[in-house]
């Protein structure tokens, strides 16, 4: 285990893994700073580039990018009051008032340093979780993985924001899309319209970029502006913010741990982590008056939680194949592209790779925060790029992604069709993440169902772990309904914490 841990670190610094991670970080910088292109969209757009990479190179590139989007998203939240990412929205509450009070540097210093501390704690928990969950995962067979994949599907309700029924329907439609192609059991063509190109099924990349990226491009064009309508001015006082992280070490530490645990629970996602952390920062402060008007503790809490949740998020994804957020659902797609199946093999054969994830989070965050401190004034200039100049590049990335999957123009057409569907869904408030979750998990569910049935027939439903997982799934399905009932009784509105795009 220790050998694998060290080997994971060595792998990060090998050629060409390290330069690829740096490229990922550079992309993550831009994505985080520019609103409109979220982490999940960027992940989807970058999937085609990993086809020719080895697993460690691919994840260095993707995790390097994902790890920094939350950190750099805080920069625009503080300077302009516009979150670069949906998961950076809570930092606006106190970060932007601080900037208006002439404390932009202090707020940025606090956000960056707390982000780093949060990321390190998240990575530490991930490393600690691997030996703990390993024996559990290794005791699982196909019936348990079938049950787990079904459990993953039940999280669609949590990923659906306020439209639970629509979310569950879309999760089901995603499962149906996963059936397109040759049936693995009998070789029958299912929903292929006789098209040879559909025999292998609907490609994950064409569907994902269509559903997520095309609506974002349309939205970016409709708004037609750069975010920096105001000038940020010279930024000073950063060091004070760094010191604040350690002066208020209790908040930073507690919010990092909170973020990690919110990340571990599939379905809650990054948005929940920041708001829970913000609420905790307010709740635990003896003097609450300055919150909302520029209190550095209101920056430290969400800043730390935003980054610590990535480590937590990876635990159920790697160990059980249950992606807890949209980003993780897309990252699960990257696992499949690389021919990796989350579960036992990630904790045995590919243990080095799993530990390299821990190091990737650590190294990419250290590099990001260092670069942010060094080039803060220059980074702010990126926000002056007009959306019109970004659009051709984004359109090309969308088509490139869908084409590269099978070198097929047909896949580009699929992307267009799913782009239109995604646009309609966005317009009508139909949640999009459940569709992707269904598409990703559909194949795993059907495969494990038939393996389990072939070996145990229907008696596998009586296995204790299967029953336990089904009970958890039932609880997950019923929980939002019960919460809604209690909330209505107490007079609270729902959907305060969970947003679709986290």
């Amino acid at each position: 285990m220790i050998e694998a841990f060290i080997s994971g670190l060595v792998q990060v610094f090998t050629w060409p893994t390290f330069p690829l991670m740096l490229i990922g970080i550079a992309v993550g910088f831009a994505v985080g700073i520019l609103p409109g292109i979220g982490g999940p969209v960027a992940l989807a757009l970058m999937l085609p580039f990993v086809f020719s990479m080895t697993p460690v190179e691919a994840f260095a590139f993707l995790l390097g990018m994902l790890s920094v989007t939350a950190t750099t998203g805080d920069i625009t939240s503080i300077l302009f009051g516009v979150p670069g990412e949906s998961i950076s929205a809570a930092v606006v509450l106190d970060g932007h008032p601080m900037a208006k009070n002439g404390e932009a540097g202090r707020a940025l210093g606090a956000a960056l340093m707390s982000s780093l501390v949060g990321a390190l704690i998240g990575a530490f928990v991930l490393a600690l979780a691997i030996p703990i969950v390993r024996p559990l995962v290794l005791s699982f067979g196909s019936p348990e993985f079938f049950a787990l994949a079904l459990l993953g599907i039940t999280f669609v309700a949590a990923l659906s924001g306020t439209n639970k029924l629509k979310g569950i329907i879309m999760g089901g439609v995603g499962l149906i899309f996963a059936m397109v192609g040759l049936d693995p059991q009998s070789g029958i063509q299912r929903y292929t319209f006789g098209q040879l190109t559909l025999w292998d099924g609907l490609g994950l990349v064409p569907v994902t970029v269509g559903i997520f990226a095309i609506p974002e491009i349309v939205d970016l064009w409709i708004k037609q502006s750069s975010i920096a309508e105001k000038q940020a001015g010279k930024i000073g006082g950063v060091w004070q913010g760094v010191k604040d992280t350690f002066i208020y070490w209790g908040i930073t530490l507690r919010c990092s741990i909170l973020g990690t645990f919110v990340g571990i629970i599939p379905g809650l996602g990054g948005s929940a982590a920041q708001w829970v952390a913000y609420a905790h920062a307010v709740q635990s402060a003896p003097d609450k008056k300055r919150f909302g008007h520029g209190d550095v503790r209101g920056v430290l809490g969400p800043g730390a939680a935003n980054n610590s949740k990535e480590g937590g998020n990876l635990i159920p994804t790697i160990a059980f194949g249950v992606p807890g957020s949209v980003s993780m659902a897309i990252l699960l797609g990257a696992f499949l592209i690389q021919g990796l199946v989350p579960g036992p093999s990630m904790l045995t054969t590919h243990l080095n790779l799993t530990f390299s994830f821990v190091w990737l989070i650590v190294v990419s965050n250290i590099i990001t925060v260092t670069l942010c401190f060094l080039f803060l004034n220059q980074l702010v200039k990126i926000t002056r790029v007009r959306s019109a100049l970004l659009i051709p590049g984004l359109i090309l990335l969308v088509y490139l992604g869908s084409y590269a999957d099978h070198n097929s123009i047909f896949d580009m057409g699929i992307t267009l069709v799913f782009g239109a569907i995604g646009l309609i869904m966005l317009y009508l408030d139909w949640p999009r993440p459940p569709l992707i979750l269904g598409l990703v998990l559909g194949t795993l569910i059907e495969k494990n169902l038939f393996v389990a049935y072939g070996r145990y027939e229907f008696s596998f439903f009586g296995r204790p772990l299967v029953i336990a997982i089904f009970l958890v799934a039932l609880a997950v399905l019923l929980l939002p309904v019960l919460q809604e009932m209690f909330a209505k009784r107490l007079g609270f509105k729902e959907g305060v914490l969970v947003s679709e795009e986290d």
Binding site: P97, I168, I169, P215, I222, G292, P392, D429, V496, L497
Partner: protein, 216 residues
């Protein structure tokens, strides 16, 4: 057509799609049919329920909603503050949220402008698709980037050409040279039995350099 009516129409189309999914599987062997029916039939029932809800919603009189892909919600606005009974901590969080919401810049666009822009960018998305299909990735991307920036976004010729050349170089350097993944010449050149149109111009210039530097 109002948004609620469109929602109803979309729900009905979804029901029709699911009916087709279930119907299509009727003659398949048991193993091939099991999963489509196990998923399709319950989802169909839920979709019918959604149609019922959408009918009820569309019959309800409601104030007009602002249109646009994001609806009335500002994308950057933080979550709505909780209403109802609050203790002092919840009140402090809610007060902070209220203060921040007041600070949010208004980024909403008028509905008719949003619709017009959405149609325009959709047309450009189609144009890029056909441009790439007909002219191949390298040339099609370059031509469409220049066309979009000059005629869609009304940028200067200079800026449009700079972006166009940068696009071409990106495909050439990253895919042709670094990754060694050449793209097809496009439908027109393929039909005429020609190489990619740009290669006649670029190869005589870059050919010797590629041979000397990259050994290709």
């Amino acid at each position: 057509m109002s948004r609620k009516r469109i929602d109803l129409l979309f729900s009905c189309l979804l029901v029709l799609f699911l009916v087709w999914v279930v119907w299509e599987a009727r003659d398949w062997p048991f193993r091939a049919r099991l999963f489509p029916w196990a998923i399709g039939i319950p989802v169909l029932a839920l979709a019918v329920m959604q149609v019922g809800l959408a009918v009820r919603e569309s019959m309800r009189r409601a104030p007009a909603l602002a249109a646009g892909p994001r609806g009335a919600a500002a994308t950057s606005a933080p979550a709505e503050p909780a209403a109802g009974p609050r203790d002092s901590d919840a009140a402090a969080v809610a007060a902070a949220l209220d203060a921040a919401i007041e600070e949010q810049p208004h980024t909403e666009v008028a509905a008719d402008v949003a619709r017009q822009r959405a149609l325009m960018i959709s047309a450009w998305l189609l144009a890029f698709f056909f441009g790439i299909w007909l002219l191949g990735f390298k040339l099609g991307s370059t031509v469409m980037t220049i066309a979009f920036l000059r005629f869609g976004s009304h940028e200067s010729w200079k800026l449009s050409l700079i972006f166009g050349v940068a696009t071409y170089l990106f495909f050439l350097l990253v895919f042709d040279l670094a990754l060694n993944v050449p793209f097809g010449p496009g439908l027109i050149a393929e039909t005429l039995g020609l190489q990619s149109f740009d290669s006649y111009l670029v190869d005589p210039i870059l050919g010797p350099i590629m041979r000397d530097v990259f050994g290709r």
